[in-house]
């Protein structure tokens, strides 16, 4: 009991955010429910992003009804690489990633499994009935460009595409994490499925230590390579993309998931209105401590009667205060 209280206070001191705190003080406070469809439906997110000039994977087509499924062949045509995902899916469920075409009737998934067109259609049909959507509501299936991972990650990633998540509070990026798929996660970048989270220094884009299933690790379990001290290419581009998602989503507390495409550079994959908290373990830093810093800054701006800051100003603020060297001064 006493150790529990001690641990509680130590975590508070470090500014570690708990689920109740995230829900009450951030998600409920900063995220207006009426804007949730902007992020909960990937098709709407994509449409808004394109309109705002934010880079996203190209959309090949949308299937809305059972009878639409017959258009699948037309949408796919001779494409050999594509992704099919539920528009309202969460946590990476119900996603098929096709890496190659085997023959007229069969495709190969990135993990090497052969999948027939019938099976793809069956999965799309399940998606439409709402199998993968939150609360089981009817859904749409989305067919889009398959991102090809930048070779920089090949040494520290197992199959799949690593993605970069940035938590953005009121337009200020406050914490970042690189998510690396593992054999256990089946090539998916979701931490709860066994992917590795690696903290990223907001200032420089350099990776820090990793976390795997709530444990701190140094090396990737599949490739055995060190995960820290890798400098992410085009970090400024990622930060700018994440920062601008505040305007795109109208939500104050979001997790922006991005990927680095070999040819197209940083792309926004999806936006999450209730981002998970393991990013704190990966960064070995508390989200609440950083969030309070941003809130104090916003309050100062308001007091001084200054207008809201631009994307560049916000990025500069975050890079100044949330760089790895500054982190210690925030805590305690």
């Amino acid at each position: 009991m006493l150790t529990m209280i001690k641990r509680w206070r130590a975590l508070r001191k470090r500014g570690v955010m708990g689920i109740n705190e995230r829900n009450g003080d951030f998600v409920l406070k900063y995220n207006n429910r009426k804007f949730y469809p902007y992020v909960d439906d990937k098709i709407i997110t994509k449409e808004r992003a394109i309109a705002a000039g934010i880079n996203v994977p190209e959309m090949y087509g949308v299937i809305e009804t059972e009878s639409d499924i017959k258009h699948l062949r037309k949408i796919l045509k001779d494409k050999t690489e594509f992704v099919i995902k539920p528009a309202q899916g969460a946590g990476g469920d119900g996603i098929i990633v096709i890496g190659d075409k085997f023959d007229d009737y069969r495709y190969k998934t990135v993990s090497g499994r052969l999948i027939t067109l019938d099976e793809i259609e069956y999965q799309i049909s399940s998606t439409l009935t709402g199998l993968y959507s939150l609360g089981g509501a009817r859904d749409r299936a989305l067919i889009e460009y398959k991102v090809s991972s930048d070779p920089i990650f090949s040494s520290i990633s197992y199959e799949g595409v690593p993605d970069i998540r940035v938590i953005v509070l009121m337009g200020y990026p406050i914490m970042a994490m690189l998510r690396l798929p593992t054999r256990q996660s089946g090539g998916k970048a979701n931490l709860h499925q066994g992917a590795i989270g690696v903290g990223v220094d907001i200032e420089t884009g350099k990776t820090l230590e990793g976390t795997w299933l709530n444990e701190i690790i140094q090396r990737h379990p599949d490739t055995n390579n060190h995960v820290s001290n890798v400098t992410l290419p085009n970090w400024e581009g990622f930060l700018e993309l994440a920062t601008s998602c505040y305007e795109l989503s109208q939500l104050g507390y979001i997790g922006v998931d991005m990927v680095l495409d070999e040819t197209k550079g940083p792309l926004v994959l999806e936006i999450n209105a209730r981002p998970g908290l393991n990013i704190q373990i990966a960064n070995n830093a508390g989200l609440a401590a950083r969030a309070r810093k941003v809130e104090a800054h916003l309050a100062e701006l308001k007091k001084a009667g200054k207008p809201a800051e631009s994307i560049a100003e916000r990025m500069a603020f975050s890079q100044q205060y949330f760089g790895d060297s500054m982190v210690e001064s925030l805590e305690g």
Partner: protein, 527 residues
Amino acid sequence: MRSVNLHLKVLIFLLISLGLGSIAYERYVLQIPFTDREVENLWTIDAKITFDVPRESSVSTKFYIPASYNQYTKFSESLITDKQYGQVLEEDEVGNKVAHYSIRRTKGPETIYYRLALSPNFGGTEKPAETIGTTYRESIPMEGAAKVAADALVSDIRATSSNTLSFISEAIRRVNDIDNANVALLLKGDDSVKNRYAVAELLLSQAHIPVQRVNTLELKPSVDQPTQIWLRSYIETSNRDKDSNRNITTGKWYYFNLTDGSVGLPKNAIIWWVGDDPLVTVNNGLKPKVSFSVTDKELTAISLAQANNAESSDFLAYSLYSLPISIQYGYELMLMIPFGVLVILLVRNVIGIQTLGTFTPVLIALAFRETGLAFGIAFFTIITSVGLLVRSYLEHLKLQMLSRLSVVLTFVIIMIAVLSIFSYKMGFAQGLAIGLFPMVILTMTIERLSITWEERGAGNVLKISMGTLVASSLAYLLMEIPEFVYFVFTFPGVLLVLAGFMLMMGRYRGYRLTELKRFKAMLKEEK
């Protein structure tokens, strides 16, 4: 945000104080006990009136019955006879209630029972308006030796008393002092209570103090209890009113014990009638006699409160107890649901155990009410495992989700039926208790679990099922405590307190206990 905070605090304060207030009102004003284990005595007094009718004639009896019940309230009152007696009630000038029982034609020994049941006072605090007595009376004329003795006693009493109250006490004490020559002379060798009362009255009349004889019955289990004689007097006292600077006179009946002169009726004494008249008089009847027997019967306090207050208290008349019994059971269950929800709230938000959906665990807890806990858990485990097995088998057939789920549900129902038959054959009657309600809950649970399996995998299903079972068991155990169920049903105001607490929980920002474990790795680093 600040104004919202204030708003919330005010709301929480209002809800909690309203809830606590209503509980306090019920407890301390309506006197409703906190637990149904508090048993109270229901006193039943049977007055058996017997007399003999020598030859066939019409008979009318005049019988005093209590007009007030001291600290008690009337639970019921009835006349038990083997013949049809007409009855008329009237009130006499000193405030006595008189019952006239009459019959046109009868002969031989007659017995009439008057039964009065009294219970402790719930709800009703109203007291019957007291009659006002006189404060002066003419002296009873006396002569000779008796007069001398009385005068000597009165002047003696006057010397040792300061006011009417102490005068009466002192007079009674003297009358009980049989060694005193003057008293002995007045008692004339008869030292019965009745005669002592007569002598006391005589003495007090010399000082112009009016008194009345009070006949009481004691509430203690007894057979053939005689009535006791008390003396009462209406005494006025003057107080100076500070505002108007005038003397305010208030009067009150004082009751005196005839054996020792002490003041005040005990709690368990019931005034049956006031005055010197006999308790019962019978026209055309011989040897009238009344004997009292008193018994106490234990009743749960709430059933008394119920019966008492049906007409006397508006509050209880509009309480859940005014509903038909069968409907009450339904509400008993319903009122407990918020407490089940509270358990889920604590388990999820404070402890951090994952459960299947938000309210599914409460529904499962309700299903446990019909099956019992151990059997319910076994049932839940078996049925859901089989349901999930069927589901994973159907996975290979590539069916659409809806039809697949329908097949699963059908099999679940078959399973339930089979299990019921087996458990019945094995002697578990609970197997039959599976009603429609738990069936629906189970099938819903399997549907949700299979979707979770699809999305998150078998390990997650196991974790969530365990969490759900723990949460439902806790909720069930809380919802099943009989004292607690009674309390909530009797004091529904507790739900407002609960709502206030839930609102507070809505602002709970602390860690969940499981998060302390989850983030443990972040603290190791520091050491």
